[in-house]
């Protein structure tokens, strides 16, 4: 944890001046209406359109995305060009698994902070419904055998080696949601946390119901004004997150079967984040850019922190990222007005909260003399989260930062923390401060 000795005050201040996101569209059967770049453009165009500067004024575009389509390599560049930013605006894609969108903001923040840029469009996008379905490696080997076969005999040999089983597809999405080193699915790592922190199925389901209710309320109250209506080419408009279930109940969720540890597990589709397509963007600016274009900042990014831990307990990543970051600023959790902790699994959110108030955990992991502290439920994910609106992996990190800024503005509050767990055993956290005048 060498980073905790860093001087958090160095560098230039960096502001979020605006942001937008698409409605999050639940993956139902087959590929959804938007490919990743299409989604990104639909949500980012209105954002750019309402700025007082021309799109070409942007210094760079940074996009978090885990699985762009094969024709979307370096999807950030595809997006920048398709947004009409012109040939000379560089763009790059970042990948830190579930925190890719937050990584994009972090990278933009650093570049502005240290003077390499003044105006950056950063965000994330994921079209999980378009995740590739692949041939198995055995099938690929057979295909290359077939393609190199020149003579009739060689072809006959190849045909004899063919087995229908070779055609069994590899579902890219499932591969991506399985830890490659410990072989656990993300759901199974959440089962680990449930066991370790003694979180019951009822507690998870109750948390999930609350997530749906909070999102439904936020939608009805008009708190989700960062959502842009998006339009596909087939005459449809999408205006709202479509995974939310205002009528969700503990009884209904109790009927669902565990999906990751069959039979005896506790994690179900109902208390996990949904598989969803979505995108979120923020526009970050330096003070000179704000002056030059007369922009009004909504929040200042104060600090950012990454941490790593045992992949089998990846869900505790936020605990490990937040503690050093706030300690560095001598801030206790009571000084943070609102929290956005990305909901990958209800069990995982609850485990983080419990770990922070567990003196033994805090002592062993961080050498703290007492527990880090309480995160009150009323200040955590107050407008719902991944369980109710979905977790498009590349986008969520950017969404929670943007929405946290909106919450701080709305509540006229001061400080907020957005934090996210990362498959593979990492955590990311960002400290922001309300900057709306």
């Amino acid at each position: 944890m060498a980073s905790s000795t860093r001087n958090p005050q160095s560098g230039r201040p960096v502001y979020i001046v605006d942001g937008s996101r698409s409605p999050f569209l639940k993956a139902r059967s087959g590929p959804g209406p938007f490919k990743a770049a299409d989604l990104a453009i639909e949500a980012a165009r209105p954002l750019l359109l309402r700025q007082p500067f021309e799109p070409e004024a942007i210094d760079e575009v940074i996009t978090g995305c885990i699985t762009p389509a094969p024709d979307e390599v370096n999807i950030a560049r595809v997006i920048a060009l398709r947004l009409g930013l012109g040939h000379s605006v560089p763009a790059w894609t970042v990948q830190r698994n579930c925190a890719s969108g937050m990584q994009a903001i972090d990278s933009a923040w650093r570049n502005i902070r240290y003077g390499y840029a003044d105006l950056v469009l950063a965000g994330g996008v994921e079209s999980m419904s378009h995740a590739p379905v692949l041939f198995s490696e055995k099938m690929v080997r057979w295909l290359s055998l077939w393609q190199s076969a020149r003579s009739f005999q060689q072809r006959a040999v190849a045909i004899r080696k063919f087995r229908p089983a070779l055609l069994a597809p590899v579902i890219g999405l499932l591969k991506g949601l399985t830890d490659p080193t410990v072989g656990l699915s993300m759901g199974q790592t959440a089962e680990n946390l449930a066991t370790r922190f003694n979180i019951s199925r009822e507690q998870m389901d109750a948390y999930s119901v609350e997530s749906h209710k909070r999102l439904a309320h936020a939608r009805d109250a008009g708190f989700l004004d960062e959502i842009e209506a998006i339009y596909d080419a087939d005459g449809n408009v999408y205006e709202h997150d479509d995974g939310v279930r205002a009528d969700s109940s503990v009884e209904a969720l109790a009927k669902l079967r565990p999906v990751f540890d069959r039979h005896f597990g506790n994690i179900t589709a109902g208390n996990s984040a949904q598989i969803t397509d979505g995108t979120a963007w923020v526009l970050l600016a330096s003070e000179p850019a704000i002056k030059k274009y007369k922009l009004s900042p909504i929040a200042q990014i104060v600090d950012s922190q990454w941490a790593a831990l045992n992949p089998a307990e990846m869900g505790l990543g936020p605990v490990h990222a937040v503690v050093p970051m706030l300690t560095r600023h001598r801030l206790g959790p009571d000084r943070i007005d609102y929290w956005e902790l990305n909901e990958a699994f209800a069990a995982q959110v609850l485990a983080c909260v419990r770990a922070w108030r567990d003196p033994y955990y805090c002592k062993r992991e961080f050498g703290l003399k007492k527990a880090f502290g309480d995160i009150p439920h009323e200040r955590l994910n107050i407008d719902g989260g991944g369980i109710s609106l979905g977790h498009p992996v590349g986008a969520s990190g950017a969404r929670i930062v943007l929405h946290l800024a909106k919450i701080l503005n709305r509540k006229k509050a001061k400080m907020g923390v957005a934090t996210i767990c990362i498959g593979g055993g990492q955590g990311g956290a960002m400290l922001i401060e309300n900057a709306a005048g």
Binding site: I41, R45, P46, L49, R50, R82, L83, G84, A229, Y231, D232, A233, D234, G235, N236, V237, E239
Partner: protein, 652 residues
């Protein structure tokens, strides 16, 4: 070598000679008489030098050669004039074909008519791989057919079916299509175009010839069978008395397709005869009327980047899609999001049709077309086109709001079809800013835009509107702000007359047939259904006040009952999926020719009235507006031209 004004000769590598055409008197290369004369002597000179090969290309950025010089057609007085013109062309093309060294045409942009004939006289053709490359024989649209040996050579090269199809339809091919049909040998990106030409000349690959089975069709009796079938096809599209050219071409091939020498001689005779037919004269007139409309605009008056369209109905949405297709960033505004979604869908369909096989182009345009449910584009746009429903208060409120937000030099235009500009401008702080840009439905097909000058419209604003119309590749005609402007005013009495005829007991099929027989693209009753009966009624009501037009009660009744035409599925006809349901034929014992003359009279009378009322500046503009705005029988040369010809004929 002596200096030439339309060509330059350049030395290529390894003894290859480049002949670069750069027409001195215009922006596009045309094969005028002087050009052909020059080419003739140049070819003779190059021949004596005996180079390793000759490559012909254009020095113009927009294309290879646009064809013959259509302006010269107007000077043709008789058969002999025309024959001389055509024969000279044939002679030069033959000269190219007979050169003892290999020749190649290097094509970019348009390669049309005489330009294609020149390319066909070369041994090889290479086309640039680029969406701008368009290759074809549009002669048929001018009432003639290829006359510089093009019919002979295209049939020889790609077989009679493909060649006749090209010549009869006048359609143009993209580069890859042209390669597939065999019209060009190679399609090459710009970066390799010149190298490819030189390499072909030096390596002389085998020349392309039509396949054997294709050539069989060129022999009797198959040729006559195919010709019979072609006539059948053509007769569905065009009548012989209106458009004799396709029939003459088929006849020419049927008779002489087996003997190239004779074919060539008769080709010249046929074109010479056709070009003296009134149909060709009038079609040439219509072609030149386009230039007349274009010449009224000075494109440099405005340099738009961003167009904002308000209202995503059929008109607004389609105007937005069209502007995006022309390369502009377009925001289309509507609070009704489902309407925006439908507009995007229509745009996507249009683009898929236009850019078939090129999804990159489709995406590029779709990315420029932005659904804007909050009106974010208003403050950024260079041109704002209002296309909301026809309501004075709503429009006035909108302009008041717009005036406070838009850029200082933004152009504000209204697509109103019926409200007086003066009324709309009343609400504005600066009424001189408002101009009308009246588009026609379907936007992608109708080339005309009426630029409406209100009393207060500043002339600079009107000029910028004209210029903008050219930027989006439309034909603008300036019209006075008077009810119905030009096109609707002429159309409406005609439609009302047609509806009145129904009340007199004349079956609608007879009414529509009479108009089609005259050469209208669509019968008036079908047209009313297509435009929308509610729109017709609205316009008719407005015109009724000023022109004393009696609005048929039947029309009002139908609109009242919700029968609005195609869009509601029920109008005068019943529609299923946008297509009329077939109805049994109604017998009619009356005089059909009287029906026709009554319909046409309403059109021509009102056209004359527009001229008298100075809606546009002169009779040619009346004709141009009505042809390009309604599709009025082009072979007549326009309603006033038709009227004048009829008068001349009766006094003789």
């Amino acid at each position: 070598m002596k200096q030439f004004s339309h060509f330059r000769v350049e030395k290529g590598q390894s003894g290859v000679v480049w002949l670069v055409m750069d027409y001195a008197d215009g922006e596009a290369n045309v094969l005028s008489s002087t050009v052909l004369e020059e080419l003739k002597s140049l070819l003779a000179q190059i021949k004596t030098e005996n180079p390793a090969g000759l490559a012909i290309r254009s020095g113009k950025p927009n294309g290879f050669i646009a064809g013959a010089d259509v302006k010269e057609f107007t000077q043709i007085k008789n058969f002999e004039d025309a024959h001389r013109l055509v024969s000279r062309g044939q002679e030069v093309m033959n000269q190219i074909e007979a050169l003892p060294f290999p020749t190649v045409a290097v094509i970019h942009g348009f390669c049309l008519g005489g330009g294609l004939e020149l390319a066909l006289a070369c041994d090889y053709r290479i086309a640039r791989d680029d969406p701008k490359t368009r290759i074809g024989f549009p002669e048929i649209k001018l009432g003639i057919h290829p006359g510089f040996g093009g019919s002979v050579r295209s049939i020889r090269l790609i077989g009679p079916l493909a060649a006749m199809n090209l010549m009869l339809t006048g359609r143009t091919l993209a580069a890859q299509q042209a390669r597939k049909t065999g019209l060009v040998d190679y399609v090459v990106p710009q970066r390799l175009l010149l190298q490819a030409a030189e390499r072909v000349l030096l390596q002389k690959p085998a020349e392309r010839r039509a396949k054997v089975w294709v050539k069989v069709l060129n022999r009797q009796p198959l040729r006559s069978v195919a010709a019979f079938w072609m006539v059948k096809q053509v007769s569905r599209e065009a009548r012989k008395e209106h458009y004799p050219a396709p029939y003459a071409l088929i006849d020419l091939w049927r008779k002489y397709g087996g003997d190239e020498k004779k074919f060539m001689a008769e080709e010249a005779n046929s074109v010479a005869a056709l070009s003296n037919h009134p149909s060709a004269r009038n079609l040439v007139r219509v072609f030149l009327l386009q230039d007349l409309l274009k010449s009224a605009a000075d494109k440099s008056k405005i340099t738009p980047r961003h167009v904002h369209v308000i209202g995503a109905g059929v008109m607004g949405g389609d105007i937005a899609a069209w502007c995006a297709m022309q390369g502009f960033k377009v925001t289309v505004q509507d609070t009704y999001k489902a309407g925006l979604a439908k507009a995007k869908q229509r745009a996507h369909r249009l683009l898929q049709k236009r850019f078939r096989g090129n999804p990159y182009l489709v995406n590029e345009v779709m990315d420029r077309l932005i659904a804007d449910d909050r009106g974010l584009g208003i403050t950024k746009a260079d041109v704002i086109i209002e296309a909301i429903f026809e309501d004075v208060d709503a429009k006035q409120a909108l302009y008041r709001d717009l005036e406070t937000k838009i850029k200082a030099d933004a152009l504000i235009a209204t697509n109103t079809s019926s409200i007086r500009l003066e009324t709309l401008a009343e609400a504005m702080q600066d009424p001189s800013r408002l101009v009308g840009l009246h588009f026609f439905n379907p936007v992608a097909k109708m080339p005309l835009v009426e630029v409406v000058r209100g009393e207060h419209t500043a002339s600079e604003v009107a000029e910028r509107a004209l210029a903008f119309a050219r930027h989006i590749d439309k034909l603008p005609v300036t019209v006075a702000s008077s009810p119905g402007f030009l096109v609707n005013r002429v159309l409406m009495p005609y439609l009302v007359e047609a509806v009145d005829m129904l009340d007199e007991g004349i079956p609608k099929s007879v009414v529509d047939r009479a108009a089609l027989d005259f050469g209208m693209p669509m019968g008036p009753i079908r047209l009313a259904d297509t435009v929308g009966l509610d729109v017709c009624l609205f316009v008719a009501d407005i015109l009724s006040k000023d022109l004393g037009l009696k609005v048929p009660t039947r029309l009002r009744q139908m609109v009242h009952n919700g029968a609005l035409g195609i869009k509601s599925g029920q109008g005068f006809y019943t529609y299923k999926n946008g297509k009329p349901v077939k109805e049994p034929k109604t017998p009619y014992s009356g005089d059909v020719s009287l029906v026709q003359s009554r319909l046409v009279k309403r059109l021509t009378d009102e056209a004359q009235a527009c001229l008298n009322d100075h809606i546009v500046d002169n009779a040619d503009l009346v004709d141009a507006g009505i042809i390009f705005g309604t599709g009025f029988a082009p072979f007549t040369g326009g309603p006033l031209h038709y009227l004048a010809n009829k008068k001349a004929a009766s006094t003789n």
